[in-house]
Amino acid sequence: MTSTLPGTTPSYEPTGEVIIEAGHVTKHFTTPDGQPLPVLEDISLQLHAGEIVALLGKSGSGKSTLLRCIAGLIAPTTGTVACRGTAINGANPGVAMVFQTFALLPWLTVQANTEMGLEARGMPPAERHRRALKMIDLIGLDGFEQAYPRELSGGMRQRVGFARALVVEPDALLMDEPFSALDVLTAENLRNELLSLWGGKDFPTKAILIVTHNIEEAVQMADRIFVLSSSPGRFKAEIHCRLPRPRDRRSPEFEALVDQIYGIMTERTPEAGQQTTVVEPGLASPTDIPLPHASVGALAGLLDILSKRGGRDDLPVLARLLNFEVDDLLPVVDAAEMLGFAAVAHADIELTATGKALVEADILVSKKLFAAAARERAPLVKAIVRALETTKDQTLDQQFFLNLLGRGFSEDEARAQLDTAIQWGRYAELFDYTADNRELLLTGPEDEIPE
């Protein structure tokens, strides 16, 4: 399996005992009209003692779903998850989890929150106080034992999250984007502290599995990185990362690895369903090619900056420049590519001729260019315009489109798709949406921009 993945660097084989094993895990959700919606497809993964593994993917790649399958919080549709060789059927007894939003009980003090897992095991009070205080000490929360979570900053709250997870001495620590709710400096600080604890002897857990959408975070922390493709989530590449710790973000090896992963993540693969340049857009249905969730403003901003930087740039550089993470940047890049304003190859993005024209034009002309691109190349926008044109009063209830989208998307995603399309359609003055009647209506010729 490993060697067949395109991005594999076969320099390292994990040697520790297998703690967690996921075998051929698939997960289907159900769309509103009862169709199965694949979220994960055939994922196999082993977590060994002594390693940090990162699951990296864009939003919608199912990485959090995979983590929850491994944690035993949700059931995979097919496939198994085993902890030390025993298949689980409920919360995984060998792991503890750190949550993106901390998930602390606001009515319990730091110490009581930390003791939660020990208390649930029925440990006597004296013993669990001792252990909790020791862990609170180790994680740098000394002096905050009696504070309530709402009195703490985000970084301190997440420390409580770590203390609560580590104090039960789990075989493996699962982390669901643990730093993404923190500001950049706090996140960096906490990440480094965690890594230095990991390097120490007393660290109470044997392996770490982290979900992230931050490429640099993955490269900084992980021994192995699995890159997931989007809808459905599949392993696109496995990258082994053996840089010596602590890792220097500015070293050429580090940057090369980041570049390589950017390349993999922006690369279009047929099964990812995003090959807009090859599939004739007129033939693709809106459920085959989803709209990337990018606002018109962000799209214009990206094209503008790209033009100022000479029409071509490196994606990691651009991301760092904008202080964007992959989740923020890639949808905008995808949108630019879908609409034909930019082309992406190997983590490089280049403005196309239309893109250049759009940047240089005044507002009315650029709207016209955007409208032309959207109704030609964005399948959902095109479908909406066509449907509205065929009705007598050029008006349709939004439910009509939500029902159509419900065949290929979950309820939330269908709503999000329509919202993006409405935003684009409004900007392009192709159609409008009235919130009162929940109807979409074609923008009449009298409203159209003059030639």
């Binding site: 929850r68 919080l73 919360a91 998930a103 939660m116 208390e119 205080l133 309530y148």
Partner: protein, 577 residues
């Protein structure tokens, strides 16, 4: 490090061992316990004295009667909490139970509590023959039914909207069912439960006053209490004594608010899930006082091992988890069995009811009730419309002035809690003097209690309108019509809808005591469904009572579905600030 930590901090050493605060708290607790024990003994008095209990109307007896009434209120309240815990948890955690429990709760909420009294009294008296306990139970049950449904809905709603990540954390850290309930479910529902409990408790006074003295089938049942005191005073035609009872009632409502609810509301702030602080922190002097005292600490310390033992004892009930993999056929056959059994029970119930009516009064009472129900419905509509026209402008004015609303809000809350039934004698005296028919006077009686819900909610809504929006309107010199249309009415709409539903519900319930009235030797009757139920109760005509209740519930449900639900939906989707 550890050594330093075990030293008491300086504050502890400086504290006197027992401060005056502690003495006061301690004495109050002892007195409370003593009082409850004394009253509890009286609750089980022999019925030989009870059925003909002569309520003394000497004002010096009032404190005793008030204490008896208060105890009933609190017993009913704690029963409501226990019911809420069980029912809401079952509905939220079991897919199949939810299918039955939630619609059932919806119907129960629409049933007029007072109509039931005749049936429950008969039941409880049969349950405790020879003791006044049966009457006590019937009264407590009436109060309970006025409180429990609301609180249950509140907790159910909190449970199903529990944050996913807290649910996941609880499962991940392997909390047992019992631990999860007390660590996560109860604290998470606390704020909603306390606010709803306070409102329901306020509503409960009305049913307390109405349920202490009642005649069923020509037998007069009386319980010592403030409601029966007023009844006795009215029978004597002594308005001064009614006035004294009203004064005691006001003291009791205010006292319970200050000593019980304010501290609880302020305490519940601890359980706010949003990590940001609330804009305005509720404060309570009583709570601050208690927090200064060490008596609560002394009481809770010996209880802690009990809590641990309970944690341990409930361990066999298992983790708060259900297996991830279920077998499709097992689940489906369970569903089928459940549906068949539930369906059979419902059909059997309908069949039994039909047989019952067929053997007794036939189905003609239903036709009659439908017609009478329309008259009562018209009265309820007048109450709601008139209260709206009067109180929406007043409430908006008060709410938009922070100074006014600070004083008005507690007063209105007391007005809303005050059992209007105690004021009926005064109104009836006026009706008699002016020769007003109860057909119209009844509207006023129903409005006496119901109108305040609208005022209370409109004030709350108006004070929630952001100040900057109001300043903006003033700055643009927006004429008052436009200001009302574009800012004030949309702003208070969601609150008004809540107030309107509550007011309408209150008016329906009040119709049972407002459409028929006795003062001294005068009897007034209006034609309406409330009067029909009340008369059927006095006659001991159970089929009539049942038919009346069914039809009244039907009216309430239909109006809720056709009017309030759509308004509520509109308020939630369009006019939420």
């Amino acid at each position: 490090m550890a050594g330093a930590r075990s030293f008491p901090t300086r504050g502890v050493l400086n504290r006197p061992r027992f401060s005056p605060v502690d003495v006061i708290v301690f004495v109050v607790i002892v007195l409370l316990l003593f009082g409850v024990l004394r009253l509890a003994h009286a609750m089980n008095a022999s019925t030989a004295t009870a059925r003909v209990t002569v309520i003394s109307t000497r004002p010096s007896e009032l404190p005793y009667y008030a204490a008896r009434s208060l105890l009933r209120m609190f017993i009913a309240f704690f029963l409501s909490i226990a019911f809420t815990f069980v029912y809401a948890t079952a509905a939220a955690r079991s897919r199949r139970a939810r299918l039955v429990l939630i619609p059932l709760l919806d119907i129960l909420q629409s049933v007029p509590v007072l109509g039931f009294l005749a049936i429950t009294i008969t039941f409880f008296i049969a349950l405790f023959p020879g003791s006044v306990l049966g009457l006590e139970c019937a009264s407590i049950f009436a109060i309970f039914t006025s409180q429990a449904w609301n609180m249950t809905f509140s907790m159910y709603h909190s449970l199903i909207t529990e944050p996913t990540e807290l649910d996941e954390a609880a499962r991940m850290f392997r909390l047992t069912k019992w631990e999860r309930f007390w660590r996560l479910d109860v604290p998470g529902s606390m704020i909603g439960l306390v606010w709803n409990g306070m409102m329901s408790f306020g509503g409960g006074w009305f049913f307390l006053a109405a349920s202490e003295a009642i005649s069923v089938g020509n037998t007069k049942y009386t319980l010592p209490g403030i409601g029966s005191y007023v009844q006795a005073a009215v029978d004597k035609g002594d308005l001064a004594e009614v006035g004294a009872a009203i004064a005691v009632m006001v003291i009791m409502v205010v006292g319970v608010n200050v000593l019980f609810w304010r501290p609880l509301v302020a305490y519940a702030e601890k359980f706010r899930v949003e990590t940001s602080e609330a804009a305005e922190q509720p404060k309570s002097y009583v709570l601050n006082f208690l927090r200064q005292s060490r008596v609560p600490g002394y009481i809770s310390r010996p209880l802690r091992p009990v809590g641990r033992d309970l944690d341990r004892a409930t361990r066999p009930f298992g983790l708060a988890e259900s297996p991830l993999r279920t077998f499709g056929y097992k689940r489906r056959s369970g569903d089928v069995a459940f549906t068949v059994v539930t369906g059979a029970v419902i059909l059997w119930g309908i069949y039994r009811a039909a047989v019952y009516f067929d053997h007794t009064a036939g189905f003609s009472p239903f036709i009659r009730c439908l017609g009478l129900g329309f008259l009562t419905f018209a009265r309820v509509a007048v109450v709601v419309v008139a209260s709206t026209l009067i109180w929406v402008p007043v409430g908006a004015k008060i709410g938009m002035s922070p100074r006014l609303s600070r004083y008005a809000q507690p007063v209105v809350q007391v007005l809303a809690s005050f059992p209007a039934i105690l004021l009926f004698p005064f109104a009836i005296v006026i009706f008699l003097a002016l020769g007003i028919s109860l057909n119209f006077g009844g509207i006023l009686l129903m409005a006496l209690g119901a109108q305040w819900y609208i005022l209370f909610n409109v004030i709350a809504g108006a004070s929630a309108i952001p100040t900057d929006l109001r300043e903006l309107m003033d700055q643009f010199r927006v004429p008052w019509r436009q200001k009302w249309r574009q800012l004030i009415l949309p702003g208070i709409f969601p609150y008004y809808v809540t107030g309107g539903i509550t007011a309408a519900g209150g008016a329906w319930n009040a119709s049972i005591v407002a459409e028929i009235a006795t003062y001294g030797t005068h009897h007034l009757t209006a034609s309406g469904l409330g009067a029909y139920i009340a008369q059927a109760t006095v006659k001991g005509d159970f089929p009539g009572v049942l038919a009346g209740i069914v039809v009244m519930s039907f009216y309430v449900v239909v109006v809720n579905r056709l009017l309030w639900r759509p308004l509520y939906h509109l308020a939630e989707t369009k006019y939420s600030l």
